[in-house]
Symmetry: C2
Subunit: 289 residues, 2 copies
C-alpha cells in the first residue's frame, strides 16, 4: 500500500519535483467528518484535501454492513480518482462496519477514527475505566469496546442519539443540549463506571459540543476527542511516509475540494459550522442509490 | 383505478364471496406511518393491513425527488403484490415529493396525508390562519402551504427537526421535549400568526406528542392530527367503494402484516410504541439500495 505514497509527482511544467505536499482524502456519511478535517488543517497544514460527504445516503447507522461497505468503498475510489494519496475514514459507523473492506479495496493507506481514539484513551487512563459516547449504530457495533478491551481496558459505551440532531439544529451552547447531555452522562457515569477517568467522543459531531460536555462531565475525567486523535494519527503516518515539505510549501494554504451527494447549498451552510472555515469549492456528485 | 377495488374476491374454498374485507396497504419510510395505521385500526377495523416501512433507506427527507419517487413506487408495487387494494402514503415527505408519481404507477386508489390534513384545517379555521409543523423536508417542499393556499388559507410552516429524534428516543412526556416544543411553537405563533387558530401536525411522528403539544399550544388553537384525518379520508373512500361488510366479518380482528427493509427486531421494538399494539408478523425485505 505504501507504494502509492511513493509515486513521484511532477510539477506543472513537467519537471520532477519531490517531495510535494500530499493530497489527503477525507470521507464521512455527512458533516461530522469536517471536525476531523478541521483538526487535520491545524495539525497537517502542508497538505491538500478532498472531502467526500455522502449526504444523500446518510445516516449509515441504519444500514447493513454489506450496504455501508459498498457505499464506503465507492466513496474511497471516488476520492482516489480525485488524487487522494491517503484516506481518512472520518465516520465512526463506516470505520466500525467497513474499515477492513475499505482497506482491502483501497490502493492507498487508510486511517479510521476508532483505533486512534482507543489508543489515546489507553494513554490517558489511570484506572482502566473508559466511557465512550456515540450514536446508536456505533454503540451497537461495540467497535470501541473491542478496541479498548484489546488494550486491557474496561469500556462503558453509551448511546446519545439526541446529540447529533441537537448539533445539526445549531444548539451547541443551548440549555436544552446541556440538560440532555447531563441526563446521558449521569447514566453513563454510574455504577461500576462512576469513577471512570476518561471519556471518548466516539462521534465526529461531538467535538462541536466539547466545551458544553466539559461542563457536564465530572472534573476528574479526561476527554478524548477522536477528531484530534485521528488527525494526530494521520500526521504521524505522514511523518513516516512523506519527507518534510520544503519551506516554500509550508507557507501555502491547504487547498480543499468538497464533494457532496445531496444539496451543495445545504452542505456549504451546515458544513461551515463544523469546519470553522468557509466552504467554497463544493461539487455535487450523483451516485446511484 | 376504481376497477381494482371492484375485483370480486373468492373465498378459500373457491366459491364467490362478495363483498369481503379490503386489504389496505400503508407505506412510510419508517415508523411514523404506524400512527396512521393506529388511526385506521380504530376507524376502519373491518379491513386487513399490510405495512411497508422502508427503514433501511430512511430518512427520505435528504433525498432527491427522483430517488424518493423511485423508492415509493417500489414500495407501492410491493404492497400491491401482497394484496393491497388501496394504498395509504403515510409519510409526509413521500406524499409531498411523490404522490403524483405513485398514483400514476399504482393500479389501486392512493391516499396521501397532506390533502386530508389541509382539508381538515380548512374546516376548522375561523380566521384562515394555519400553523403547520413538520420536518425540514416537508417544510422545504411547501406542500402544505400549497394545499392550504389553494383553499384560500394563509399558512406558516415551521420546521421542528428535533421532535422526531425526541419521539424515537421515547421522550414523549419528557420535560426536555416540552421545552423544545415550547421554543418551536413560540417561534411559529409569532408576528402575523400570533392568532392562528389551527395547527396541523404535518409529520406522522407527532401524534405521539399530541397531549404534550396540547399543553404548550395556545388554548384557542385547534390541533389537526393528520394521521386521524387521513384515516377518515380512507374510511370515506372505502364507504364509496366497498359495501358494508357482514356482521360476522365485523367481529373479525384486523390482520396485520409488516415488511421492513432494516432490522425486524428494531421495527418490532420501536414500532409498538407508535402503533400501541403488539407487532407480531414482521418480515425483512431486502431491496437494492
Amino acid at each position: 500500500m505504501k507504494d502509492a505514497m511513493r509515486a513521484e509527482p511532477t510539477a506543472s511544467d513537467g519537471s520532477p519535483k519531490a517531495p510535494r505536499r500530499p493530497t489527503i482524502g477525507v470521507f464521512d456519511s455527512g458533516f461530522g467528518g469536517l471536525t476531523v478535517l478541521k483538526a487535520l488543517l491545524e495539525l497537517v497544514p502542508d497538505a491538500d484535501y478532498v472531502y467526500f460527504g455522502d449526504t444523500a445516503r446518510l445516516p449509515y447507522g441504519s444500514k447493513s454492513v454489506e450496504t455501508v461497505g459498498r457505499y464506503a468503498v465507492e466513496a474511497a475510489h471516488y476520492l482516489e480518482s480525485h488524487g487522494a494519496q491517503m484516506l481518512v475514514i472520518a465516520c465512526n459507523t463506516a470505520t466500525a462496519l467497513a474499515l477492513d473492506r475499505i482497506t482491502s479495496a483501497a490502493h492507498v493507506p487508510v486511517v479510521g477514527v476508532i483505533e486512534p481514539g482507543a489508543e489515546a484513551a489507553a494513554l490517558s487512563t489511570k484506572n482502566q475505566k473508559i466511557v465512550v459516547i456515540g450514536t446508536d449504530a456505533t454503540v451497537s457495533s461495540h467497535a470501541y469496546r473491542t478496541a479498548l478491551e484489546a488494550r486491557g481496558l474496561s469500556a462503558r459505551e453509551k448511546a446519545c442519539p439526541l446529540l447529533v440532531p441537537l448539533v445539526e439544529e445549531g444548539w451547541v451552547e443551548h440549555a436544552v443540549t446541556e440538560q440532555v447531555a447531563h441526563i446521558y452522562l449521569t447514566e453513563a457515569f454510574a455504577d461500576g463506571f462512576r469513577n471512570a477517568d476518561t471519556m471518548v467522543l466516539g462521534c465526529t459531531h461531538y467535538p462541536l459540543l466539547k466545551s458544553l460536555l466539559r461542563r457536564v462531565t465530572p472534573d476528574h475525567v479526561n476527554i478524548v476527542d477522536s477528531a484530534e486523535t485521528t488527525a494526530r494519527a494521520v500526521a504521524s503516518h505522514l511523518g513516516q511516509l512523506v519527507p518534510a515539505a520544503g519551506q516554500e510549501e509550508r507557507r501555502a494554504l491547504p487547498r480543499m475540494k468538497f464533494f457532496a451527494t445531496d444539496s451543495v447549498e445545504k452542505f456549504r451552510r451546515l458544513g461551515e459550522r463544523f469546519l470553522g472555515h468557509p466552504i467554497v469549492d463544493v461539487q455535487h456528485v450523483d451516485l446511484k442509490e
